[in-house]
């Protein structure tokens, strides 16, 4: 049973490829893909509730011999099964969305999506470091190919190259770390390595293995300075795919880091608060950088991608607090974020489908003919700004409670305000024509023309199969928050987080007044920032401080240069710094 979430999509992918001659029966393919991902989501949903005791599953029936794991283990807990389920649910919505999104599509899109799904679930459930690496690579290879799905344009090719090379370097460093730790412990099973590490004093080997293993995950989860590839890839991947990239894949990287820390390396690093502080600092830095880039971006998909980077920082900060409350908050935030961010990308996809552009400036006011999409997009943007009762507000509230540091709370609040404010600026400008109409210069018109879109002709009507997933995801974002406010649900989540960390459950989490206030303040601030972004020309103070696309551009561009060489250099530099800091702490 636990093997099915991985195997079923794989077999479906093989079947679809074998059935390529039948590719004319487009609906059959769609049905198979939707059915498969839906079934996977159901199985995973079942697993979440079934295995709250011991979730070990040994492949090929090789149970540990002489106390040593000889086979491959799947460890199914509520958190990782839940994350995988989130991925499968997102996949289902996306497959329904793409039903009418692509005018012309072979079986390859479905095949790649299904292998991507199998990679995600396998990565989530694996209890063996090398197995985790294998599914991580499958997820990666599918993702590279999906990014380059429209190779007749320049952007996708460049985005896929940057994505693939940066991530491959990270993945090989991960493998190096696995080899190092295997060379000493002679084990690949996570629990077993963890037990070994627990018995021995912290050492350089353990520290550096940990660092190298999480390198690939840091790259995948776009933590500064490993993040550069993300915006390039997310801006160009087909919009339905972006939903999964932003909503799930980035979070999977973070999950991997948390898993490595809690199941394997935590004791070896001494469970020291200082280690947590390093990651907290990284998370806060990522949140700030993502928010700033988000604010100055005009390409809607890229803007959403930078907002994902900012949120990834917040999630990392939640994990880095090393407490069940912080982790539970991050998990809840991840779920809430995945739904609203997915909805935002689908909204952008509808805009691209109907208006054939994702340039915010060009689109100004042109989205008025998409009222339903506009309302849903705006609602999701407010969800991104932590407006109660979206799931995001409570997750963020728990992280704030766990942080117990006003400075962290304030910085993260500011980041959310700025990034969500930018999204609201898009919503207001595109769908309601708020703000001053932009000056249409030649360059912009040329850029708008370059956006050939993923679909052939602009349609007169948005198909229901595209609106329904958008609506469903937005509602799901609300439902997550409302469910989590129920004391039973929040206690269960907190217990799951404590179980994941191997810690005793602590005081139950509540909906505190401060979290509601923070959420409302955050949404209010975001609206203010959005309006300021729209009306900045009328505000002389702002005008002198902020000219979008003019000031600070050179410096920002120099970092986000689009050159692979730079990205890899930054990643190595970040790795060396992180290694130095960890060495200083452990010694």
């Amino acid at each position: 049973m636990p093997s099915l979430p991985v195997v079923v999509p794989l077999i479906a992918a093989a079947l679809l490829l074998a059935a390529r001659p039948l590719a004319t029966y487009r609906r059959t393919l769609d049905l198979v893909a939707v059915g498969t991902s839906g079934a996977v989501a159901l199985i995973l949903g079942f697993l979440i509730f079934r295995t709250d005791h011991s979730g070990s599953y040994w492949f090929a029936g090789f149970h540990p011999a002489h106390g040593i794991a000889v086979g491959i283990e799947f460890t199914i807990g509520p958190l990782n099964a839940g994350l995988a389920c989130l991925g499968a649910t997102g996949m289902t919505a996306v497959m329904v969305f793409s039903w009418r999104y692509f005018t012309q599509v072979g079986t390859y899109f479905h095949v790649l999506m299904l292998t991507f799904l199998a990679g995600m679930t396998g990565f989530c459930l694996a209890g063996d470091v090398f197995d985790m690496f294998v599914w991580f690579e499958l997820m990666g290879v599918s993702a590279y190919a999906l990014t380059a799905y429209r190779p007749e344009e320049r952007g996708p090719v460049q985005g896929a190259l940057n994505f693939a090379i940066t991530n491959s370097v990270g993945a090989y460093l991960t493998l190096t770390g696995i080899a190092l730790i295997y060379g000493r412990t002679g084990a690949l099973n996570m629990a077993q390595i963890g037990a070994w590490v627990d018995r021995h004093p912290p050492s350089g080997l353990v520290t550096i293995s940990f660092l190298l293993i999480i390198t690939g995950l840091l790259v995948k989860s776009a933590i500064v300075p490993f993040h550069f590839w993300l915006a390039d890839a997310h801006a160009v991947a087909p919009t339905p795919v972006c939903v999964l990239f932003s909503g799930v894949m980035v979070e999977l990287g973070l999950y991997g880091i948390a898993r490595m820390y809690w199941s394997v390396f935590g004791p070896g690093l001494g469970h020291r608060a200082a280690v947590g502080h390093v990651f907290l600092a990284l998370g806060v830095l990522t949140a700030v950088v993502g928010a700033l880039y988000c604010f100055r971006e005009r390409h809607v998909k890229r803007l959403l991608a930078f907002s994902t980077i900012s949120h990834a920082g917040v999630f990392l900060a939640g994990f880095a607090l090393l407490s069940p409350l912080g982790l539970a908050g991050a998990a809840l935030y991840v779920a809430g974020h995945a739904f609203v961010k997915g909805a935002l990308f689908l909204g952008a996809g509808i805009v691209l489908h109907r208006l054939r552009s994702v340039n915010e400036t060009w689109l100004h006011g042109r989205g008025r003919k998409l009222p339903v999409t506009g309302v849903l997009f705006t609602a999701a943007a407010l969800g991104l700004a932590d407006l109660p009762p979206f799931g995001t507000f409570l997750g963020k509230g728990w992280i704030d409670d766990a942080a117990e540091a006003p400075a962290v709370t304030l910085i993260l609040l500011a980041c959310t305000i700025v990034s969500a404010g930018s999204v609201l600026r898009v919503a207001g400008g595109v769908f309601y024509g708020l703000g001053d109409p932009p000056r249409e210069d030649e360059r912009m018109a040329a850029e708008a023309n370059e956006e050939t879109g993923e679909t052939d002709t602009a349609r007169q009507r948005t198909p229901l199969s595209m609106l329904a997933p958008l609506a469903l995801l937005t509602v799901a974002g609300l439902a997550v928050g409302i469910t989590a406010m129920d004391p039973h649900a929040s206690d269960a989540l907190l217990a799951a987080a404590a179980q994941f960390q191997g810690q005793p459950a602590v005081k139950p989490a509540d909906v505190t007044v401060s979290s509601v206030v923070t959420g409302v303040a955050s949404a209010g601030g975001a609206v203010a920032v959005g309006l300021a972004g729209l009306y900045w020309r009328r505000l002389p103070v702002l005008r002198s401080l902020y000219e979008p696309g003019a000031r600070g551009l050179g410096l920002a561009d120099r970092f986000q240069s689009g050159v692979i060489n730079d990205y890899v250099t930054w990643a190595i530099a970040g790795l060396a710094c992180l290694g130095g800091v960890l060495a200083a702490i452990i010694r």
Partner: protein
């Protein structure tokens, strides 16, 4: 030794002005993992783990790392082939293989 191969490969990726060259350097980077894996599983004086014509009690090297390396080699072949197809496309779209000139996106 492993660090040397890794460093040489990474240096190639960082300084290269040619995508295909970068991809080959990525292959070099990955080859460092094979050497490391097989190196950590080696047992001095051990034989290859095949017991067709030798006693099963003979001292043998670790079979697990060999299986892992095999998997690793397949991953390498797959990723390299995919990357090359991107490079071919990039050449078609941009007319160059210099990563500095593939700049659809900046900032």
């Amino acid at each position: 030794m492993v660090a040397w191969i890794l460093a040489v490969g990474l240096h190639g990726i960082v300084t290269s002005r040619d995508l295909i060259h970068q991809i080959i350097c990525l292959v070099v980077v990955q080859s460092s993992t094979y050497v490391l894996l097989l190196g950590v599983g080696y047992v001095t004086g051990g034989v290859a783990p095949y017991f067709y014509d030798i006693s099963q009690r003979a001292k043998a090297v670790d079979p697990v790392v060999q299986a892992l390396t095999l998997t690793d080699i397949v991953v390498e072949a797959a990723v390299t082939a995919l990357l090359l197809s991107f490079a071919v496309q990039a050449h078609k779209r941009f007319g160059t293989l210099d990563p500095h000139e593939l700049v659809e996106f900046r900032g």
